[in-house]
């Protein structure tokens, strides 16, 4: 038992669960507080149950579908941020890479009709990977050769990406509503998943996302390429000392991170459910949720599969919270609390360590 608890991985998971628990407790307190000052009918217990069931008590299997739909992109942006973290970089530019990738995918799926429609969506995904990768690579090149902090360059690239897309929407505009884009002609197939969930929400994208997560896990943990990249991330000087080309490592890391976010964008904008581009200047939420997902998943690709699902569950719960008389802002507060608490995960691990060591000692 002691061995199990003191196992490094088990401790990491326990620390994340503790963070989640703290988030839930805090969320419940917020509900109680909100209920005490609101005049209209509210029910904090009801609200809390909604949250811990991820809202599925209202929309059941459909709700599960909605959660999966939202999981797909944040799984990828989470991987993008997490992969960069593992290699010592902070990719805060997931939102820009996401929207660039998504737009590229939509453009290809609308314009490149010379490709048979059955294959067009695959080409669109590849296009998104390339453009997202380039968007990430810019930050990598700047960091490697000019020592520009990747946080700053990728934040700015978020806005550049957002404005670029908003200005390019006219190239694929809808005939009846020129400020919006057309619906893609070729989309990710559903393989009958839409029937399972009773709604046209889930498609093959979720499987692509999970497969990519496993792939990234293998690259990071099992290959010499991953060994090099992590060495660069943990200690750039030591990597250089060992003859690893650290500049190449940084550029490749950012490129791969960008490609992951770009793919995430594609999986939203050519998904089975219609989401179209418009000219509004808003940074996509998926990009920033990726940071939460990566932190909660401790940057581990397999952990990110679960954390992305969890964050999506909360998001679904948020849309049902109004039934108990609450705003979905409660969810945002909870998510933030969880992230905040997981930043303390080292502390929790330390405490768990001490607690169990003491018990055994007595």
């Amino acid at each position: 038992m002691k061995k199990f608890i003191l196992n490094d991985n088990v401790q990491k998971i326990l620390a994340s669960l503790t963070a989640i628990l703290i988030g839930f407790i805090f969320g419940f307190l917020i509900l109680l507080f909100a209920a005490s000052i609101k005049t209209q009918a509210t029910n904090p217990i009801e609200g809390f149950i909604t949250i811990i069931t991820g809202g599925m008590r209202y929309n059941g299997i459909k709700g599960f579908g909605i959660i999966l739909r939202y999981t797909t992109p944040v799984l990828l942006t989470g991987l993008s941020v997490g992969f960069a973290f593992k290699t010592g970089l902070f990719n805060i530019g997931a939102a820009g890479q996401f929207v660039m990738g998504g737009f590229t995918a939509a453009y290809i799926a609308i314009k490149w009709t010379f490709i048979p429609l059955e294959f067009l969506w695959i080409v669109a995904l590849l296009g998104a990977i390339v453009v997202g990768g380039i968007w990430g690579m810019i930050s990598g090149v700047l960091k490697a050769y000019r020592n520009v902090n990747e946080v700053i360059s990728s934040i700015m690239l978020n806005y550049i990406g957002m404005i670029t897309v908003s200005n390019l929407v006219f190239t694929i505009k809808d005939r009846f509503n020129p400020s919006r884009s057309q619906v893609p002609l070729s989309r990710i197939p559903t393989f009958g998943l839409d029937k399972v969930f009773g709604l046209n929400t889930v498609d093959f994208g979720i499987f692509i996302a999970i497969a990519v997560a496993i792939l990234i896990y293998i690259v990071l943990e099992k290959t010499s390429f991953g060994y090099e990249l992590k060495a660069c991330g943990y200690n750039r000087e030591a990597a250089r000392y060992a003859g690893i080309n650290d500049k190449k490592g940084i550029i490749l890391s950012m490129t791969i991170a960008g490609a992951l976010s770009g793919l995430g964008g594609a999986l939203v904008y050519i998904s089975s459910i219609t989401k179209v581009f418009d000219q509004s200047l808003v940074l996509q939420r998926e990009g920033f949720d990726g940071i939460s997902v990566a932190l909660l998943g401790l940057s581990n690709p397999l952990g990110i599969i679960f954390s992305s699902f969890f964050i999506s569950m909360l998001r679904n719960a948020g849309s049902s919270l109004s039934r108990a008389g609450f705003n979905d802002e409660v969810i945002r507060i909870m998510t933030s609390t969880i992230i905040y608490a997981s930043a303390f995960s080292l502390l929790f691990r330390d405490k768990i360590h001490k607690l169990f060591n003491k018990k055994e000692g007595k």
Binding site: K222, T223, S224, F225, Y227, A238, R240, A242, G243, I244
Partner: protein, 508 residues
């Protein structure tokens, strides 16, 4: 009351390690009390407890017969305890005077009373013959002078108990002699000194009594005059140690590395970091570059290993010009490098031992096929090296490098570098911060490698190491080679003159 300071049963636990286990320390008034122990023996921890930086789990501190509660350095200061840290705590663009009064400025109506402070500083400087120039900027004065500023800071605060944490590590032999004299003067004036060190010579030179710690435990307190260096080192390490390095005469063979007029320019100022350095390194010899820290050794090594670009000059290795070759190329051609800073270059601290042991050859077929790492091989390799080089750690091959002691980290680096079977081994301060046992071990390995016909370039700041291990000495001063010596013929004092730039000869 006989003792000024009594620490009783101090226990300080860090996660996973007991740094101090029921340690006692009793210091008499007016003595120089040395605190001796290997690295990780808990000396610094114990002093940090006394100075209020750590809170112990158990134990009490008695000062002048009364139990004291020291929660932070300000409390310590109130009890008259001052400390010279290993890394000085000085503001570099402040003057000496400004540094001394920082934190205890006398102020009237919000205005600094510099004149009073200046008077006091000058008086103190004269009284203890510190020869301090109060208006010099810290960045302009030598390391030895900076240390005196630290001493002056304690005196200005009227501290009676002065703690010196490894004060000689950064000094030249002459400066060390002067420091020893200052320490004696201080004691003569009624101060009490606790002197942390692992150098036995210095303890013999100045200390009255010595308390020995080993692995966090209190071993003994003895009179220095009553004990030999051999007994002290035995108490410290827990077994008999060879203080002298045993070696036969070197038999140098052909030249394997030749450096011609090497220049490394500085990015910040006009002075070259390495200026026109030429030398030849033969197989079967240990060539030592001696010098005081910061005189271009680091940059010379970086240039040789490829970590830094060479501005002009040539590096010829086994007949091939490798001046502009990559680091990987040099590694593969048989150049190994034990780096100066094991945390910066030597190890990826978040990798475990096994992963660190393959840092130089993870890309060879030995440890990977088609891009996939062969974990079984990697861990077998680690188990073998751990066994052969006696690398000790909490959980063997899977322990994270960060959790290991400095000596064992160094052993891991040495193991890794030697396993590449190099022709040239560049070892930069390979024994820095290690205890007597580990130093002995590393010296033995260096000589063993020499006898196998490898060429060894040793860069060291430690004069005793320079004298005992090397076969030939080159002295570097401000980026230039200023002297050449035979360790059998030269004295430490003479080397010291070269190292401080007071003497130089033209090398061929």
């Amino acid at each position: 009351m006989e003792y000024v300071i009594e620490m009783q049963g101090i226990t300080k636990i860090f996660p996973g390690i007991i740094a101090n286990d029921n340690v006692d320390l009793k210091v008499k008034k007016g003595e120089i009390h040395a605190l001796l122990g290997e690295n990780g023996a808990g000396k610094s921890t114990l002093m940090s407890v006394l100075f209020g930086l750590y809170k112990p789990e158990k134990g009490k501190i008695i000062i002048n017969g009364e139990e004291a509660s020291i929660k932070n350095p300000n409390d310590a200061n109130r009890y008259g305890i001052g400390m010279v840290h290993q890394h000085f705590k000085l503001v570099h663009n402040f003057t000496v005077l400004e540094n001394v009064i920082l934190g205890v400025e006398s102020v009237r109506h919000g205005r600094l009373l510099m004149d009073e402070a200046r008077k006091k500083v000058i008086e103190l400087s004269q009284k203890y013959s510190l020869f301090i120039e109060p208006d010099a900027l810290i960045s302009d004065i030598s390391v030895g002078m900076q240390q005196r500023v630290e001493i002056l800071k304690m005196l200005y605060r009227e501290n009676d108990l002065l703690i010196f944490d490894e004060p000689t590590a950064v000094l030249t032999p002459q400066e060390i002699d002067e420091l020893m004299k200052i320490m004696k003067d201080l004691v003569a004036e009624g101060k009490t000194i606790i002197f942390i060190t692992h150098k036995l010579n210095e303890i013999k030179a100045v200390a009255d009594r010595v308390t020995i710690l080993r692995k966090g435990k209190y071993i003994d307190t003895v009179d220095v005059s009553m004990s030999s260096k051999e007994t002290l080192s035995e108490l410290m390490v827990g077994r008999k140690v060879l203080l002298e390095v045993e070696k036969t005469m070197a038999q140098p063979k052909e030249v394997v590395l030749e450096v011609k007029h090497l220049i490394v320019k500085s990015k910040n100022h006009n002075k070259n970091k390495v200026n026109d350095v030429s030398f030849k390194l033969h197989r079967g010899e240990i060539l030592c570059i001696a010098g005081i820290e910061g005189n271009g050794q680091t940059d010379l090594v970086y240039a040789l290993t490829g970590l830094e670009k060479v501005s002009s000059g040539q590096i010829i290795y086994k007949g091939e010009d490798i001046t502009h070759r990559s680091i990987r190329y040099r590694n593969l051609k048989g150049m190994a490098h034990i780096p100066e800073d094991r945390h910066k270059h030597g190890l990826v601290l978040d990798y475990n031992v096994a992963e660190n042991l393959i840092l130089q050859d993870y890309h060879t077929n030995k440890f990977q096929t088609k891009g996939f790492l062969k974990f079984k091989k990697i861990y077998d390799n680690a188990d073998e090296l751990i066994e052969r080089y006696d690398i000790r750690s909490g959980s063997g091959a899977r322990s994270i490098a960060r959790s290991m002691s400095g000596g064992n980290q160094q052993k891991a680096i040495v193991a890794r570098e030697l396993e590449t079977h190099p022709d040239v081994l560049i070892a930069v301060q390979p024994t820095r911060g290690l205890d007597v046992g580990a130093i002995e071990y590393i010296h033995r390995i260096l000589i063993e490698q020499r006898d196998k016909g490898k060429a060894i370039l040793l860069v060291s700041l430690e004069l005793s190491e320079v004298m005992s291990v090397s076969d030939r000495i080159l002295v570097i001063y401000e980026g230039e080679l200023v002297g050449q010596a035979d360790p059998a013929l030269v004295s430490q004092q003479e080397l010291g003159l070269y190292m401080s730039g007071s003497k130089r000869e033209v090398l061929e």
